[in-house]
Every structure is written in structure tokens, then in C-alpha cells.
Symmetry: C2
Subunit: 156 residues, 2 copies
Amino acid sequence: MIKPDSGRPNDFLSLEDISAGQRFISRKYELTESDIKAFARQFDPQPFHLDNTAAQASVLRGLAASGWHTASITMRLWTESIPIAGGIVGVGGTVAWLARARPGDSLEVHAEIADVKRSTSNPRVGTIVVRSETRNQHGKVVLLQEVELFVPGRLA
Amino acid sequence: MIKPDSGRPNDFLSLEDISAGQRFISRKYELTESDIKAFARQFDPQPFHLDNTAAQASVLRGLAASGWHTASITMRLWTESIPIAGGIVGVGGTVAWLARARPGDSLEVHAEIADVKRSTSNPRVGTIVVRSETRNQHGKVVLLQEVELFVPGRLA
């Protein structure tokens, strides 16, 4: 993993520095019950994200994080692990919630560059596609994403 | 819009009650600068979401919400506007951030049922696809999503 916080600007990747197959692995993020409930109170106040008893009786079979919470945690881990010049600016993409993220889970992101495309209308910039797996401590993928990011070239 | 909070269980929609073309419109959500920065500090601590001066100099041309913040706000508005029996449980889908969400924006979700599919392996349940536009006060779509949700049938 390239450290984005070393203070040397040339640690940040421009479009020319990125190629398909490059991989980035994040630190581990410990997901707590209070984190799950705090996010849910603000953005997804449904019983199975807020109340342990209601969650047991629900289709989720126990308290689980909002899918958008898992996606937001993944973004946090990306910002610490994928050092793109100009920052991580998403265009769009896909999300698939493949398993529940539970209290006590330790989440880790494994991301790989799936594609690099230079803009035909403005060749000084382009986009990349990041294929990202957010895995729990058992190696199970809880969130699978393919997200297209805007990336400037060195001359942008 | 069907009110999910009337207390009558039959206000909640089972798979049989849902058909393509049904529409749901949320209340308006006022996005503040402090909301944008608070979400960013926790999940997307990049300068263009945290610092007005840095944001002006960035590709975002001014402070803007994290795309995952906009998605999370949209989820909040869904939970208040789309009354599905058993709750809103996402399987996966697409996101496209088409415009910036700025401090002072008033966001409103316009969602439409795009598809309804009964499970072939377990016909008591199914999925629906929700096509959702999160619009600002000028009617501009900032976030376009198509998300597949798990929905139980009446006999599930």
C-alpha cells in the first residue's frame, strides 16, 4: 500500500501512474454496535439497524449495519489507502451488499484497478474503475463495488 | 405519497401491492455546511468536503457533500417515503453522481418502481427495482440510483 500521508506530492498517483491490476489494501476498521446505531439514527432509522430484538425477528436475523454505512466506511478506508492526485472523486458505479456487516466485525478493503480510460474530449484527464471488496474478519465480502473515479493526468 | 407512519399495518406494501410505475416523493431535506463537514470528518475527510478554500481550488469548485453522504440522505428520505412491509432492504444497484450537492441545497427524492420480480426459487418473496432521483431545489438531479430491494409477499 502506498501511504498517502507521507507529505511527498509525488506519492499521489496521476492517471499516468495507474494501470489495471494495481491493488490497494486498507487498514482494518472495527465496527461497533454503537457505530451501527448512530449511523442508523441519522440516515437509516429502521428497527433492524437500531434495536437488537427487532433485528433478531427481521429478515436480517440480528443487528446489522445499514448498507450505506458499510459503503461510507469503505469510502473512509479508500481515502486512507488509494492516493489519487486531486483526491477521490466518484462519477458513479455499482454496489452489491453480499453479506451483513455485524457489530464486532473487522472490515478491510481490498481494491483493484479494473480499468483506466483517458478522456477522448480532454486527454489531460480520465477515469479509472476501482473494483473494491469490503471483507469481514472471515474473508467474506460484505460489499462489492465497482466505482468510476475522475483522475487528472500530470498535465491537468 | 403513502404515509408509512399511520400505524395501520396494511399501509405497508407487500410484493403484491407494488407495480412498475408507482411513484413516491419525499419531503425536502435541507443540506447544511455543518452537515457536509460532519459527515466528511467521519467518512470522507478530503479537503473539498471539509475546507471552503481548498474546495474552491479543487475539481469540485466549492464545498460539496460526499457522494456517500448524498446517498445516505437519500436512504433517510426513502425510509420516510417508501413504506415496504418488512422495511427497506437493499440487494444492490447503481449510483451516479450527476451534480454537486452544495451547502444550502434543498434535496427531494423522486422515486419510481421500475420493476417487480417474484423469486422463482421462493415465490413467497421477490425483489423490486427502485429508480430514484435525488433532486436539488432547481430540479437538477444530483444523484441517480437504481437499487434492487428485497420485498416479502403477503404470505412470506
